[in-house]
């Protein structure tokens, strides 16, 4: 099937304004009759729930943590982009749009990207009005820094805790609506199924993570704002609870999964120390503004970093990409690090690391300046590694970080299932094959504050409120299905824990589908994953019972969803027989190791439809068009 994103026609620069005017509205008096279920309260979900509540809709919001303030958005360090052009360095909406399209290697939907760039400025205004304490200069105006993939300074930040401050802003707006009773909040609640009534999304089935109760919440529309699936690699920079579960269950109910193979590896993470490791910690990319990345020139270098003279150091990013240098985009930086390590020049245990060195900037600016800019990151580094980054270069290595892919949505952020909307990292639309730094926070808040309040209206205006109630046969059936699934997980009583299976899965996904992919590695992964799945259902061990707090049960459910999803990830990567952005098929590269796109054959969104267990998924394509700028070879030299 050829998919249609239903984008506005006409000039791209006018598309959002035109669309906003063309869309139907819901009468203010009718809004409270519509119940909107918002799953997830990260930047996307909290901002959506708060804004929809303000408009007068009847909102129910859900998250698995004990408070909406703890969604994984909280961990974002570096910053948020906007086209304010405050530094007067040549930024504009057009340039932000251009950088995002180019950064995504011409695999994103043009009109969506334009809209994102257009509303970016309003986000900053909104956050300041909420009391988000962004960094300021001595005159009291907002400060900016630069981030990978851009030659202008357009990133707003709050020390090294930008995500925290933005999320607390959205959380406080949400809290206000909870107080005003327009939003009802359900923390410690996990969505385990999507309920369809006559093919439309009308409810979710959840498990109360404290009592174990499984029940349905019915509504008039469902918004999935459940974040990304980077944990499919087992170790990633995501929180332990981040999972593919919500969108995977929706996929199994018919929602198309778009571009699952677009996963981002972040170049600056603290290297893994051992098998028991539970997560990898990101060191903000902003460090690349002042840190220089290098490895020894000689293989098997034995000297300590500080004893290696200048001539024996290879500042490989500066050498290969002189105009972007240490700020080259993430996919390029990550692969370059892997190449250096594969070449035997990696540093630290197992040779899986490169240096990030602040010696020169400390000399130039003084340690106090570096401390002021990144103090908390240096502290974090020392806490984890026991090493002092001011004195010896930090060691970093790439790690799985972000999912560009996600559920397919049209321009209104609605999936192919009517009434099911997908926001934030959980959808696929704006980042193409690679996301630029500081653009995910922007997208989450754009979707929640400034897109969904408008784009949910046309669907609702055309549907009668309260169509499905909790006692609808489809709701009852969904509860029975989830209960049966839970029982099945608890009944196997084998020998291996969910963590064992995640480690097994991670070995396959990271090695075969990680930074580099080939027909061979993907075929091998596709052969191995069914074995893991089979073993899971034979040999899983989950202790405890269903009607209580049971973290192992939660983990088991998320694990099997990841195992199933990994298969789709590999299929998509195999189907996409080109390299683009973060999707690097080793068969397709230029002589200098750059990704080689194949626009003639692959300038489309790959959206996969579920056809049943054991049946290959069906591929649907949405062709991509570029009117404002024409696809060119992405060059950061």
């Amino acid at each position: 099937m050829i998919l249609d994103g239903k984008c506005p026609t006409g000039p791209v620069e006018k598309s959002w304004d035109k669309h906003r005017f063309d869309m139907k509205l819901v009468n203010p008096a009718n809004k409270r009759k519509y119940k909107i279920l918002v799953v997830g309260t990260g930047l996307a979900g909290a901002s959506a729930a708060a804004s929809l509540g303000e408009l007068g809709y009847n909102v129910e919001a859900f998250c698995y943590q004990d408070s909406p303030r703890r969604a994984h958005s909280i961990a974002a360090q570096g910053g948020i982009n906007a086209a304010k052009n405050y530094p007067n360095d040549g930024d504009s909406i057009l340039r932000l749009y251009y950088d995002t399209i180019k950064g995504g290697d011409f695999r994103s939907r043009e009109q969506d990207v334009w809209r994102l760039a257009q509303v970016s400025n309003e986000i900053i205004d909104q956050c300041v009005a909420q009391g988000v304490p962004f960094a300021r200069d001595y005159a009291g105006y907002l400060d900016n820094r630069s981030f990978g993939g851009a030659q202008v300074s357009r990133t707003f930040y709050a020390r090294g805790q930008t995500g925290q401050q933005l999320l607390l802003g959205a959380y406080s707006a949400l809290s206000r609506q909870i107080r005003l009773k327009t939003v009802k909040m359900f923390p410690r609640t996990e969505m385990l199924d999507l309920v369809l009534v006559d093919g439309e999304a009308k409810g979710i089935t959840i498990r109360d993570l404290v009592t174990g109760e499984i029940r349905v919440h019915a509504g008039d529309a469902v918004l999935l704002c459940t974040g990304g699936y980077a944990n499919v690699f087992n170790l990633s920079t995501n929180a332990r609870g981040c999972s593919v579960t919500a969108i995977w269950k929706a996929y199994r109910k018919g929602a198309f999964f778009a571009n699952p193979c677009y996963t981002q590896i972040h170049p600056t993470c603290i290297p893994q120390a051992g098998d028991y490791q539970s997560k990898l910690t990101l060191m903000s990319e902003s460090l690349r503004n002042d840190g220089r990345i290098w490895v020894p020139k000689n293989k098997g270098e034995k000297r300590a970093a500080n004893d290696i003279p200048e001539d024996d150091r290879d500042y490989y990013l500066e050498r290969k990409y002189p105009s972007f240098g240490n700020l080259a985009p993430r996919d390029i930086s990550s692969r370059a690090a892997k190449e250096a390590c594969d070449d035997g020049r990696g540093v630290g245990p197992g040779g899986k690391g490169v240096y990030l060195d602040f010696r020169d900037s400390i000399k130039r600016l003084g340690e106090h300046v570096i401390r002021e800019r990144y103090g908390n990151l240096f502290e974090m580094y020392e806490r984890i590694t026991g090493e002092d980054g001011y004195k010896v270069p930090m060691r970093i290595y790439p790690a799985s970080h972000y999912a560009m892919g996600g559920l397919w949505v049209d321009y209104n952020l609605m999936s192919n299932i009517p009434g099911l909307f997908v926001l934030g990292e959980a959808n696929f639309s704006v980042h193409g094959a690679n996301r630029l730094g500081a653009s995910a926070l922007m997208q989450g808040l754009a979707d929640g504050y400034f897109v969904i309040p408008y784009t949910v209206a046309p669907y609702l205006a055309a549907s009668k409120p309260g169509k499905a109630k909790e006692d609808h046969p489809e709701c009852k059936k969904s509860i029975e299905d989830v209960k049966a699934f839970t029982k099945k997980l608890l009944s196997i009583n084998g020998k291996e824990t969910p963590a064992d299976f995640m480690r097994k899965l991670g070995n396959v996904t990271w090695n075969n589908v990680g930074m580099g992919r080939s027909k061979e590695s993907l075929t091998e992964a596709l052969a191995k994953i069914p074995g893991i799945r089979e073993e899971f259902w034979k040999n899983l061990k989950v202790s405890g019972t269903e009607l209580e707090v049971n973290q192992q049960l939660e983990n088991a459910g998320r694990t099997i969803d990841f195992i199933e999803f990994a298969d789709l990830l590999c299929r998509d990567a195999l189907n996409r027989d080109e390299s683009c952005g973060a999707h690097f098929r080793v068969e397709h590269q230029f002589a200098d190791g750059e990704a080689k796109r194949d626009d003639a054959n692959f300038s489309y969104v790959a959206a996969w439809g579920f056809k049943g267990d054991g049946v290959p998924p069906e591929l649907h394509k949405e062709p991509l068009e570029f009117n404002l700028i024409k696809p060119a070879v992405r060059s950061y030299k």
């Binding site: 708060a50 804004s51 303000e54 943590q65 004990d66 408070s67 303030r69 703890r70 994984h72 909280i74 961990a75 309003e122 900053i124 205004d125 909104q126 956050c127 300041v128 909420q130 009391g131 304490p133 962004f134 105006y141 907002l142 709050a158 020390r159 805790q161 406080s172 707006a173 809290s175 206000r176 909870i178 107080r179 909040m185 923390p187 404290v210 929180a239 332990r240 609870g241 120390a273 051992g274 028991y276 539970s278 910690t281 245990p349 502290e379 974090m380 806490r383 590694t385 026991g386 090493e387 400034f450 309040p453 020998k495 064992d500 061990k541 202790s543 209580e548 707090v549 973290q551 192992q552």
Partner: protein, 254 residues
Amino acid sequence: MSGHSEHNTKTLKLIVWRQAGPDKPGRFETYTAKNITDHHSFLEMLDVVNEDLIKEGKEPIVFDHDCREGICGVCSQVVNGVPHGGHERTTVCQLHMRLFKDGDSIYIEPWRARAFPIIKDLMVDRGALDRIIQAGGYTSAHTGGSPDANAIPIPRHDAEYSMDAAECIGCGACVAGCPNGAAMLFTGAKVSQFAALPQGQVEAAERVANMLKEMQDCGFGNCTNHYECEAACPKGINVKFIARLNREYLKSLL
């Protein structure tokens, strides 16, 4: 890098609070953590213990965790009598086992406070902190129609002060550390964040009054200047924000 420490594993004795539910009796149980290296984080050490327990057919220890990088604020354990283990600016998820010696005994307990009922083992209900924010921890800025972000310059010093307060991760260690179970540092930090900014002025009086009332309704105690909260805080939130809270409250009465 201290590669050799991989071989230097430690064995530790854990004395852990186990409690099946809010109204069930609790007790300490003893476990052994084996093959722990310097590089294990505290929670990774507990993961290892739990994996062993599951394989022995026993119930693993329930504890809250998510980001494991000291920012989500969900982890909440009293280690050897001190919330988060008592290392400066460190949450329990960021505590590393290099800080413990082979053979050490470690006591692990949940947050204990009237306003934080225990859910299971080390997991507590901190909904009361959310309710304090719901009472007024915001500016009532509607989405849309905000003036340009640079329309009102904010002196850098004020922005920094506001950020110092805003760094609170809402973990509740301040409450767990306080002999009175008070949430004054938490509440003071939020009130101060807004008090320092022009955007927070309009609703200042109402905010502080409502938040303090909610705080009391939730069953938190009062501040009697022990400063244990600041000592326990993994983000180094300063007690000066409690003084600010009191000042803002007095101002609100005028």
